[in-house]
Amino acid sequence: MEAVIDIQGLSKSFGSHEVLKDINFSVDKGEVVTIIGSSGSGKSTLLRCVNLLEKPSGGKIIFNGENILDNKHDVHQYRRNLGMVFQQFNLFNNHNVLGNCVVGQMKVLKRSKEEAEKIALKYLKVVGMDSFVNAKPRQLSGGQKQRVAIARALSMEPDVMLFDEPTSALDPEMVGEVLRVMKELAGTGLTMMIVTHEMEFAKEVSDRVVFMDKGVIAEEGPPERIFNEPTQERTKEFLKRTLKQ
């Protein structure tokens, strides 16, 4: 398998607080990796380091065979290859649904308006939001916003999609519609890194599960193994705590 992203010895500190310590792991093309772990264990920071919203303190991120952390690399150019979906949606408030999916394509990828709109509509259809092209973000429910945010990221046609707890800010009845879309995407061969607290979902869609604890990867492996026969004490404890709820 060919690695899309290969993270080597990655570390991140905020001041003297070391949040990520010597993280090593890679994501293969077409692989769906979920990252689980208790709150504060560094899952978001890891994801944000991958697309350089946080600047790693040390280590390497190899993308297409090159370390994008050496100074030569253009951060903005690199980020085009990654789509990010945030917990808080972060739709552009000054654009309607279509505009949200079009603006990046036109300004960053320099696609023509016609082409950008065609691609945007294609992905809005995938997430089932194609009839809302004229709506403003403030007129949408949380689940609808998040589906548009997914379409916005997909419209850039990235190599990898990053999801940071995409359903954590949603009312319970809206979680399903977003997870359904993500499951569908996972089935299309899209490369995905997903931070989530939805254990059933993680079991179902993951090729690999990564369990993080206190800034390190404590254990990783196929979902059947991580959920059914974890080897680490802290993984067992975490799963017991989470699955009981």
Partner: protein, 253 residues
């Protein structure tokens, strides 16, 4: 016979009042627009993230210090005094008097710019951090982020403050009479003095000022409502219609 005098003054001097009101509006309008642009520029510069490299960092720091001095100085001194200093200072430096209306526009603009710079900076800072992060995550650089996502929201948000500044400027141009600009207040002083009718003349001008400011208020409210768009969205009938299709259909082709 106060009432009679009010009518007589209006009847006799309305062209002068109108011209004065015109000058006031002109100075206030151009001053607000130019000041708004100065403030926008200053606010944008003051929120540029600090570059990592040496020379750029020092350059930006210097510019920021100059901007701070400008902002603090013009917010911290009365406009009437600034008018005197700039007008007579220019006369001293260049040996001739500026056109008073141009002097007035300059003074109002830089004064407004100082206030607007802070308003714009506040507006930029108050845009949710998530808006920046989403733009960055999509691959936009700082300029693209500002132009396509942040500033449109800032401009919408500072519109009420800008309108407010416009109204303040309409009233505050009155102090420009000290450098003999024939704006509304100056004109009224002349009319009042010629007739020894101070109450009546200033009563008329009081109403005039209010009509101007209240009209601006109404216009601004209308513009704000228009910018916010309709409260409801239309579910697209045929979702695969692009904007072009919709345009074509509504034009009946």
């Amino acid at each position: 016979m106060t009432l009679e005098w009010i009518f007589r003054i209006v009847e006799q001097y309305w062209p002068m009042f109108l011209r004065g009101a015109g000058v006031t509006l002109l100075i206030a309008l151009i001053g607000t627009v130019l000041g708004g642009l100065i403030g926008l520029l200053a606010g944008i510069v003051r929120t540029i993230p600090t570059p990592e490299r040496g020379l750029k960092k020092i350059g930006l720091k210097l510019i920021n210090i100059v901007l701070s001095i400008y902002i603090e100085f013009f917010r911290g001194t009365p406009m009437i005094v600034q008018a005197m200093v700039i007008f007579y200072g220019a006369a001293l430096a260049f040996g001739y008097h500026m056109n008073p209306i141009i002097a007035g526009v300059v003074i109002v603009s830089i004064n407004t710019g100082a206030y607007m710079a802070e308003i714009v900076r506040g507006g930029i800072i108050s845009v949710d951090k998530g808006q920046y992060e989403a733009s960055q995550a999509i691959g936009m650089n700082h300029i693209q982020t500002m132009m396509n996502v942040v500033l449109p929201q800032v401009i919408r948000n500072i519109l009420p403050a800008t309108g407010n500044q416009f109204i303040i400027n309409i009233k505050d141009t009155a102090v420009l009479s000290v450098i003999s600009i024939s704006e509304l207040f100056f004109v009224t002083k002349t009319i009042a003095g010629n007739n020894y009718r101070y109450f009546e003349a200033f009563f008329v001008v009081c109403i005039l000022y209010f009509i101007m400011t209240y009209t601006i208020t109404l216009i601004l409210r209308y513009v704000e409502r228009r910018l916010d768009g309709p409260d409801n969205y239309v579910i697209a009938a045929n979702p695969m219609d692009t904007a072009e299709d919709i345009k074509r259909k509504t034009q009946g082709m």
